[in-house]
C-alpha cells in the first residue's frame, strides 16, 4: 500500500526482492524470540515425564519414552491435590467477591469523573505487601483467623479489588456514555443505567479482569506463606516446601511445577485475547 507513494525510483524487481528478504528475516527473528520464551517451559514439562536419571542427564533432550511415575508419586503423597483444591477455592471466592465490589466502584469512578478517588488504587499497588502483613497478622490473630480460608481470601481481595478496578475503569471509559444517557432520558434511574445497560456491555471486561485476578491469586506466594496452615496451604507454598525437602527429586518437583502451570497455560491459550487486553489496559491512557 505504501509502494505507490515511494518517491525514489527504485527498480521494481530489486525493491521487491529486498522486501522479500526483509520479511524472511523478520519471520526468522520472530521464530527465534518465540523459542526463547517457550523452550524453558517446554523443558520443564518434558522433565516432568522423565525418570530421575533422565532429568539429571542433559543429553537426554526432548526425545525419550515418557513416564507418568512422577505424577503418580506426588498425587499419591496427597498434599498437592489438597493444595490445588485450596488454591481453587481461594481464587474463585476472592475473585467473585472482589468483582462484586470493584465493578460498581470502577463504574462510579469512570462515569462521575472521580479519578482522584480512583488513584487510591495506585497506592495499593505501590505499598510493599510485607508492610501490610504484620499488622494484618496481628489483627487476624486477635480474631483467631490466622490459618483460615477467610484470611487467605481477604488478603487476596486486597490485590484483586484494585486490579479489577484498574482494568474496569478504563473499560467503562471505552464504553459510549450516550447509551446510558439515552436510557436515562427514557426513564431509567442512574442505577438502572448501570445495571441494565453498562453492566451487560461490560461483561467481556469483567471476564478479563476476573480471569487475571484468579491467575494472580493462583500464583500468590507470600500471603499464603504467612497466613496458611497445613490444612489451607495453597499450591505455591506446597511447591516451595517441595524445593527444600525434595531437592533431589527433580522429577517430582517438575511434575508439581507442571501441575501448577497447566491451568495458566490453558487460560493463556483459551483467553489470550482477553488476557492481553487486561494486562495492557490503562497503559495507553497514561
Amino acid at each position: 500500500m505504501t509502494a505507490t507513494v515511494t518517491p525514489v525510483p527504485v527498480p521494481v524487481a530489486r525493491h521487491l526482492r529486498r522486501r522479500a528478504v526483509r520479511s524472511w528475516l523478520r519471520g526468522i527473528a520472530i521464530a527465534v524470540v518465540t523459542l526463547v520464551f517457550a523452550l524453558p517451559l517446554v523443558w520443564m514439562f518434558a522433565a516432568a515425564f522423565k525418570t530421575n536419571v533422565q532429568v539429571t542427564d542433559p543429553s537426554v533432550g526432548l526425545w525419550f519414552s515418557p513416564t507418568l511415575e512422577n505424577f503418580r508419586s506426588i498425587v499419591e503423597a496427597g498434599q498437592i491435590v489438597r493444595s490445588m483444591g485450596n488454591s481453587l477455592l481461594v481464587g474463585v471466592v476472592s475473585t467473585v467477591l472482589s468483582a462484586v465490589i470493584a465493578v460498581p466502584a470502577a463504574w462510579a469512578v469512570g462515569r462521575f469523573d472521580m479519578h482522584r478517588t480512583g488513584s487510591l488504587i495506585l497506592v495499593a499497588r505501590i505499598v510493599p505487601a510485607i508492610s501490610l502483613l504484620v499488622p494484618w497478622y496481628y489483627l487476624f490473630a486477635q480474631m483467631g483467623l490466622v490459618g483460615s480460608y477467610t484470611v487467605l481470601i481477604l488478603s487476596q481481595m486486597f490485590v484483586s479489588v484494585p486490579l479489577i478496578m484498574w482494568i474496569m475503569i478504563s473499560f467503562f471509559a471505552g464504553l459510549p456514555v450516550e447509551l446510558e444517557e439515552a436510557a436515562r432520558t427514557d426513564g431509567l434511574s442512574a442505577f438502572g443505567a448501570f445495571w441494565r445497560i453498562a453492566l451487560p456491555l461490560a461483561a467481556p471486561g469483567t471476564a478479563t479482569a476476573s480471569l487475571l485476578a484468579f491467575v494472580f491469586s493462583w500464583n500468590n506466594f507470600m500471603f499464603a506463606l504467612i497466613f496458611a496452615d497445613d490444612r489451607t496451604q495453597t499450591v505455591p507454598v506446597t511447591l516451595f516446601n517441595f524445593i527444600s525437602y525434595a531437592s533431589t527429586d527433580w522429577g517430582g518437583l517438575m511434575a508439581a511445577a507442571t501441575l501448577i502451570t497447566v491451568p495458566v497455560v490453558l487460560a493463556a491459550v483459551l483467553g489470550q485475547k482477553y488476557l492481553v487486553a487486561g494486562l495492557t489496559s490503562g497503559a495507553t491512557k497514561g
Binding site: T2, V5, V8, R26, I30, V36, F37, A38, P40, L41, W43, A47, T56, D57, P58, I101, A105, A108, V109, F112, T117, L120, A124, I126, V127, P128, S131, L132, L133, V134, P135, W136, Y138, Q142, M157, F158, V161, P162, M165, A190, N219, F221, M222, P236, L239, F240, I243, S244, L253, M254, A257, A268, Q272, L275, V276, L279, T280, A283, T284, G286
Partner: protein
Amino acid sequence: MSTTEVSPARAAAAPGTGPAPARRPRTFEQANRRLKWTMLAPALLFVGLMIVFPLVYTVNLSLTDAFGAVNAGKAHVGLQNFADALGDTRRFWPAARRTLVFTVGAVVLETVLGLALAMLMRKPFRGMRWVRTVLIIPLLTTPVAIGILWLLILDPTNGIANHLLAGVGLPRQEFLGSVSQSLPTLMLIDVWQWTPMMTLLLLAGLTTLPEEPEEAARVDGANGWQRFRHVVLPMLGPTLATALVLRAVDALKTFDILYATKGAGGGSDFEVETLNVYAYGLTFDYQEYGLAAAVLVLFTLFIIGVVVLLRRRGGRKTA
C-alpha cells in the same frame, strides 16, 4: 447528565443562589451523588481499611522496640530504628544497593528488548495469535514454578545450560550456586519473565498511534531508524512512561523468585537480599518488628520516590 431538566436543579444546588429550594428534595444531582458513593463505598472502605490501618500501625511500630511476640509490651524509642537501619552497612545498605541494581538492570533490559520486540511484531503476521500466547505464559506463571524451572536448567552440574555452554566450548558457570553470579542470573530470569509484559504494553501503545506522521516522514525521505527515533519513539512516550512505572514498582518489590531460589536472607552471603527480602527476614525469621517496620517505611518512601521521579521525567519528556 447534561439534559435540560437538570440545569435548574444544579443551579439551585449551588451554594449562594437564593433561598434553599425545598420543592424537589431529591434532585438528579443529589441522587447521583448518593448513588456514586454507594457504588464506591464497599471497594473504597475495603481497600482503605486494609491499607490505612496497616500503614498507621507500621509507622507506629517503627518507632518502638517491638520484638518477639507481635503483641508483647513495647516501648517508644523515637527514631532509633531508623538510625539503626541507616547506620547498618552490613545488611541495610547492601540490600538497598541490590534492590536498585536489580531493578535498574532488569527494567532497562526489559524496556530495550521489549521495545525491539514490539517493533518487530508491530505489523500483523501469520501466527501472531500463537506468538502472543507464548509471550503471556511466562508472566502468568507462578514465580515459584519459574524459579524451580531455572534451578533445573541452570544446575551447575546437571543443568542443560552448562551442557550447552560446554558444547560451544565455553567454561561451565555456577549461576545460582555462586555468590557473585546469583543476582545477575536472577536479573536475567526476571528479564525472561517480564520482557513480554513490556512488549505487550508497547504493542498496545503502538496500535493507538496515528499513521500520518510516519507516512509524512517516509515521504520526506527519513529511513527506518530515523522514523523510529524521531517520530515513533516520541509519540510512544506516554505509554513508555506508564509501562516503566508499572514495571519498576513490581521489580522493586520482587520477592517470590528471590526467596524461592535462594531461600531466607537471599543466600548464605545475603547475595540476593533486597530490601523486600531483608524486611521479610527481619519480620518473620528474627521477629525484629520495630526495625523491620522502619526498614519498610524507608522502602516504601524509596518506591514512592522512584515513582515520582519516573512520572515527572516521563511527563516532561512528553509535555
